[in-house]
Every structure is written in C-alpha cells, then in structure tokens.
C-alpha cells in the first residue's frame, strides 16, 4: 500500500545506563530499522523491546517514542493498556498462578494466597532477594491439570497447598 511509512530516519540518543546497556538498544534499533513499515507496528515493537530488555522501563518507552516520532504518552498508553507488558523488572524466576475459571473452582485462589504468604509479596511483585516474581495469569490452557502453577516455562499440575514448599525450594538453589 502506498500509505505505508518508512521508519524514522532521525538519529535518536540512546539513554544507556547500567541496567540498559547499549547493545540492547542497538538490537532494538536494528529491528525497527529493518521493518518494512512502522505504521501500526507499535505493539510489535514493544513485544520485541520487552523480549530484549525483559521489561519496558520509562527510558525504553521514550526511546521508542522518539524513534517512531510519536508522543511518549501514546507509547505509555499502549504499554499500560495491555497486561502482557510490564514496566518493572522480573525476578530470576517467574511463578505464574493460573487464575482461569477452571483453576479457580479447583482452588487456585487458595494457592496464590499461600504463595503470597510464603514469598511475602503481592501479585506482580518481586521478592526481596530478587529471585521470584509472583504473577496471577489468565488461563494457561492446561485446564485438565487444574489448578496450575508455572515456574518460568515448567508447568506444575494438580497443585496442592502442601506442594508449594517443594516447588519453591527447587528453584532456590
């Protein structure tokens, strides 16, 4: 289509810091520069950025905004709208508790309460030692195994409250 736009050719300063190294910005820039068009591609770019940095801090959002020539508010509006995007860094491991309906009726609410007590965090928070992030997620689609807890990509099915200590301990070492 003729109406499609090319990426902004302007040069944008990279807000490099200890947590946000230059190589990661370079990778993101290369991805954006190689796009056929950036029209309508903001969500795709944010997916890539979260993939690279692990999260979407303010500086990364502003960098993307400048790179695309759009207001930072527009980028933040999209980031805050979608639950998949996060503005906070994650722990070394992410513990996701499925809060789909199937898991809920099989006791997922009690599982997440116990985990909050054990890890001393609320949902979407990181433990003090930086080891775990606790998340409540929507249906991971393993309803036959309800209630389901995922640690990173590993799925634990038919979880009971008394199993939780073992699951956590296995990732502490």
């Amino acid at each position: 289509m003729k109406s499609l736009t090319k990426p902004q050719a302007i040069s944008v300063t990279k807000p490099v810091s200890e947590e946000l190294p230059k190589e990661k910005f370079d990778e993101l820039e290369e991805f954006i520069d190689n796009m056929e068009t950036t029209k309508g591609a903001l969500i795709e770019i944010l997916h890539k950025a979260q993939n690279i940095f692990g999260y979407l801090p303010r500086d990364v959002q502003l960098y993307i905004a400048r790179k695309l020539g759009i207001p930072g508010a527009e980028v933040f509006g999209v980031v805050s709208f979608y639950s998949y995007f996060t503005t906070k860094p994650n722990g070394k491991h992410t513990i996701s508790v499925c809060m789909g309906t199937a898991c809920f009726v099989r006791g997922a609410d009690k599982i997440i309460e116990r985990l909050k007590e054990k890890l001393e965090v609320e949902s979407n928070e990181i433990t003090e030692d930086g080891l775990f992030t606790l998340k409540d997620v929507r249906c991971v689609g393993a309803c036959g195994l309800a209630p389901v807890v995922m640690v990173d990509d590993k799925v634990f099915g038919r979880v009971k409250e008394e199993d939780l200590d073992d699951i956590i301990e296995a990732y502490r070492s």
Binding site: I43, F81, Y82, A102, V105, D109, C143, G144, A146
Partner: protein, 551 residues
C-alpha cells in the same frame, strides 16, 4: 512411500505437553530405534485429542488403541509389548469410571461416543506441522473447488445457506457478514481471524490452531476470495507460543506450495496472511477493539456503525471471523451447505466446540451437534461430577454468561435456547460447579475479571464494574445489608443497559443469574437478616418484593 506399519500418535497439545508428552515422544523414538523398529513404527506429534483430563494421550494406529496418562517411563512397555509383541498394555487403557471396564478403542469411550467432530476433524489425527498430512485428508480441496468451480457469489451463497453462525460468541450469520463485506466497493479489503481467545477456561481456538492450522489458513483464503480481500491477518494472543509457531510453520508451507501467494490454483486470485500479536486484553475479542489493536493502538472499542465490514482495518472494509468459525468453512464448501444444515437445530446449524472444565471428571475439549442437552455433555461425555459430589450449576459463555441450574439441564442447547435461560453460548467455555462452590464467590470472581479487563473508555464499564465488584466484596466479607443487594441489582441493570460494547454490557450477567437462582446464598452473607430462623422462614420474601429485587 515408507513401509511404516504403525503410527504412534502422541498428543502435542499444550495440556499434554505440560505433563511431559514431549518426553514420552522422545522416549518412544529412542526405544523404537534401540529395538530396530524405526522402519516400521513412526512417532507423530499431533494436535489435541480433547481428552485433557487423561493426558498425555498416546494412540496407536491402525490398531486403534488409546492409551491414557502415559508417562515417560511407560514408553518402554508400549514399544516392547504393543509394537514388538502386538499385545495391548492393559494398565494404560482407559477405565470408564462408572463400570470399571477397561476400554481400548476411542469410539467405545463415553467421552467420544456422542461427539461429532467437524471443526476438530483433524485434531489428533494429523501432524499439524506437515502440510501433506492435511492434504492427504482432503485439505485445500475446498479452496481448489472455490477458486476453480465457484463464483464469489456462489461461495457466499453456500456459506449463507449452510446456516453457519459466528462461533466467537455473537452468533451472527457468517454468510451474511461475508455478503455485506463483499458488497462494499473498495479496492482494498481485509479478512481477519480472531484468535484472541480471552475467556479464561476456554481453549478451543488454541487447540484448533495447534492441531490443524491449515484448516484456518484454507478458510481464510476462501473467505478472502469470496469478499474480495487479498490480505488476511491472524490476530493471536502472544500467550499462545505453540499455536503461533505451528501457524507460522503452516503459513510457510502453504506459501511454498503456492497455496498462499500469487495466482492460487492458476486463478486470478492472490492472497497472503500476516500474523499480529495481541498483548493480553480481553476486550480485544470485540471486533472494533481488535482492529484498533491490529493497528498498534490501545484496544478500545469504537461506536458501531460504521461496522468493520464498512470501515475496518485502516478504514477499509474488513471481515472478522473467529478461529472455530473458519475451521467449519472447508467442509461446508466440499460437502455442501445441505449436509451442514442437516446437523443441529432449526436456527443453529452444525456443531459447537466446548471446553469442559471445573468440577467434572472428564475435563477436555468436546464437539457436539447443536441441540445436544447439557445433561448429555456433563454426565455422558463429561462423566459426571468429580468425587461423586452433587451438581450445582454450569456457567456457559464465560464472564459474559450466566449460570444454568439443574432444572434446565435437559434444554437442547443452541444460541437462542441458552439466551432464553439467562446465559449465552459465548466462545464455548463450560465451567461445571459442584455443591461446595459458593455462587456469590463465583460472581465475584467473574466481576474481578471484567473489572480488570474493562478498557476504561465508557464510564458505565469503567466505574460500573468497579462498584459492582466492591459491593460483592462487601457482601462476601459479611458487611453488607439488604440495601446493598438492592444497589447491586439496580447497578447490574444500569451497567448492562449503558455500556459501550459487549464486554461490559454482559459483565453483570454472572451477578444477575446467580441472584436469580441462588438468592439464598446472597442472603446468607447479609448481616441484617436473622439467620436463626432458617432461610425458608425469613420474611425477606416480602422485603424482596418491596425492594424490587425479583428479576
């Protein structure tokens, strides 16, 4: 051709993969090789068999033997006993819970007996990553027929006459939608597949994309031809990595064989498909919100009209259909609308896939003809309630639906009958609850979901769902009075009547239906009710009428 005499089909759906089916497949392959049978037996990873409760599933073809809950350690027995010696491994066969008999064949199992698989026809039967297996079972025949023997009008007419209605929840006639988009005069049109399955507890779209991605690609091409679009978009949840990877593989294979691209089947029709990722927003299942999200924006819905068929993706006429709707299209084109419309009820044709979950013995994906009763689904196919407990209610339609109680279990289900008993079809989630579930908590659970997912565009949805949730919270923490129940009911109808889009218009449904059927459970939480008199004695019956609480 290879001389393979036995195929070992290992379920590679998300549910089974979560219980180590990948390792089962690997072990099977290793042991087959060690025994020197690799020429004769082949391990194939298929899509979802649907019987998730008993996963991982392994099926041996052509012997037609169905093994359940197979662990990585069972691989040795399957190879040594079944493949080498030709004996069934008894301990891995499925045991019917009510008569304790072991069953080897899939079609003898209660779970499969009453099912009719159209949308799921290839799931569990083929390797989804091999286009030739899809073609061997008649794949892309429908696209060939449409492009070489049918005019655009004939394709639309066939779909219209089949009576197929949108499987994403709305139930709008698919053929009519295609006709409207086709009639728009525009150089550029789009066809979008809605694979943003947001209803927690529903996973039929994911299973179709994981188990039979080509059926969706083929159908989108047929739809594109019919409405005059040369570009298709699949909008899929980023949380479905396996479905995304299989879809990508399938699109690549179709391009290589010229089934996507320029001049398909030497016709003047060209078509290609792009994938766009969602980022976790339930409201994006609504078509206008979905289109906004495809454009990289916040997924907020727009006023209709104009409908997407008139002004959709970047302002061009756009047709949005759901995954399951698309999966029904190829068989309709090859077998004809008459065949399809012979299945189902008067106003709802064909079959519907349901994700059966909750307190039920056989959790899984089932596909039944429209008009099947809930009792058949829950007690025959679903094997009844877990742990011998008593059935209390079933929620259909996810957070937009309502609860259905025992007295309505014999209603033949279709779009209209479900609406008439206070629920809805929705995308096909079916959550079964037993006597131990508190219905006020269930309503609160759904409201917490819709409150979180309300996009914030309209005040009724943004503030209304939050206030509803707050009142429910007050009730379950025992601090509410009768006046709160009154407010809850009034506000429910207000949100229903004044919200912008389907999400919040239907958000109060779980409250309204649980209040109607389980009023006593609400009363039990209220502090100004004298519970010592017993629920039946409470003079709130009078009070109820005064407060106009009866639905």
């Amino acid at each position: 051709m290879s001389k393979t005499r036995t195929n070992i089909m290992v379920c590679g759906g998300t549910g089974c993969l979560a219980s180590d089916s990948e390792k089962v497949a690997k072990n099977l392959e290793l042991i087959i090789k060690a025994r020197g049978y690799e020429e004769e037996a082949k391990v194939i990873q298929t899509g979802c068999f649907g019987f998730c409760e008993q996963g991982p599933i392994v099926k041996i073809e052509p012997d037609n033997v169905f093994y359940v809950r197979v662990g990585p350690k069972d691989a040795k027995d399957i190879v040594d006993e079944h493949i080498v010696k030709g004996r069934k491994v008894e301990r891995l066969l499925y045991k019917e819970p009510h008569h304790n008999k072991k069953i080897g064949k899939q079609e003898d199992m209660e779970f499969y007996k009453k099912q009719l698989r159209i949308a799921l026809r290839n799931c569990g039967l083929i390797n989804p990553e091999d286009i030739y297996e899809y073609i061997a079972l008649g794949g892309y025949e429908a696209l060939g027929k449409a492009l070489t023997q049918m005019s655009r009008d004939e394709v639309v007419k066939e779909v219209k006459e089949s009576g197929l209605r949108g499987r994403g929840g709305g139930g709008f006639p698919t053929g009519v939608k295609w006709e409207i988009t086709k009639s728009q005069e525009s150089e550029v049109k789009f066809i979008i597949c809605n694979a943003d399955e947001g209803d927690p507890g529903a996973f039929m779209d994911r299973s179709i994309l994981e188990g039979d991605p080509h059926s969706v690609i083929e159908a989108m091409a047929i739809g594109g031809y019919a409405i005059g679009a040369d570009k298709g978009i699949v909008y899929i949840r980023a949380e479905y990595p396996l479905a995304i990877s299989r879809l990508k593989t399938a699109i690549k294979q179709s391009r290589e064989l010229g089934l996507l691209g320029k001049n398909i089947f030497d016709s003047d029709f060209s078509f290609d498909i792009d994938i766009k990722f969602g980022a976790g927003a339930f409201v994006c299942g609504e078509e206008t919100a979905l289109i906004n999200s495809c454009e990289g924006k916040r997924g907020e819905p727009d006023f209709k009209p104009p409908f997407p068929a008139q002004e959709g993706y970047w302002g061009h006429p756009t047709n949005v259909n759901n995954v399951e709707t698309f999966a029904n299209i190829p068989p309709i084109i090859t077998k004809g609308s008459e065949w399809f419309s012979s299945i189902g009820t008067e106003k709802s044709k064909g079959t519907k896939v349901f994700a059966l979950a909750g307190k039920i013995n056989n959790v899984g994906l089932v596909e039944v003809p429209m008009g099947t009763t809930l009792r058949e689904i829950i007690f025959d196919i679903g094997g009844g309630i877990q742990g011998g407990k008593k059935f209390k209610a079933v929620q259909t339609g996810g957070p937009s639906g309502g609860v259905i109680t025992e007295e309505y279990l014999d209603t033949p289900i279709d779009y209209d009958s479900l609406l008439s008993i206070g629920s809805m079809m929705g995308s096909g989630g079916m959550i079964v609850m037993d006597e131990t579930d508190n219905m006020v908590n269930i309503a609160k659970f759904y409201l917490e979901f819709t409150m979180d997912e309300a996009c914030g565009k309209c005040a009724a949805g943004r503030i209304g769902t939050k206030r509803l949730y707050e009142i429910l919270n007050k009730i379950t923490s025992g601090k509410a009075t009768m006046a709160d129940l009154d407010a809850l009911k009034q506000l429910s109808y207000m949100v229903k009547g004044s919200s912008l889009c389907g999400l919040c218009q239907t958000a109060p449904n779980p409250i309204i239906s649980t209040m109607k059927h389980f009023w006593d459970e609400y009363l039990a939480f209220i502090k100004d009710v004298d519970h010592s008199q017993g629920e039946g004695e409470y003079d709130g019956a009078k009070n109820k009428d005064n407060l106009m609480l009866k639905a």
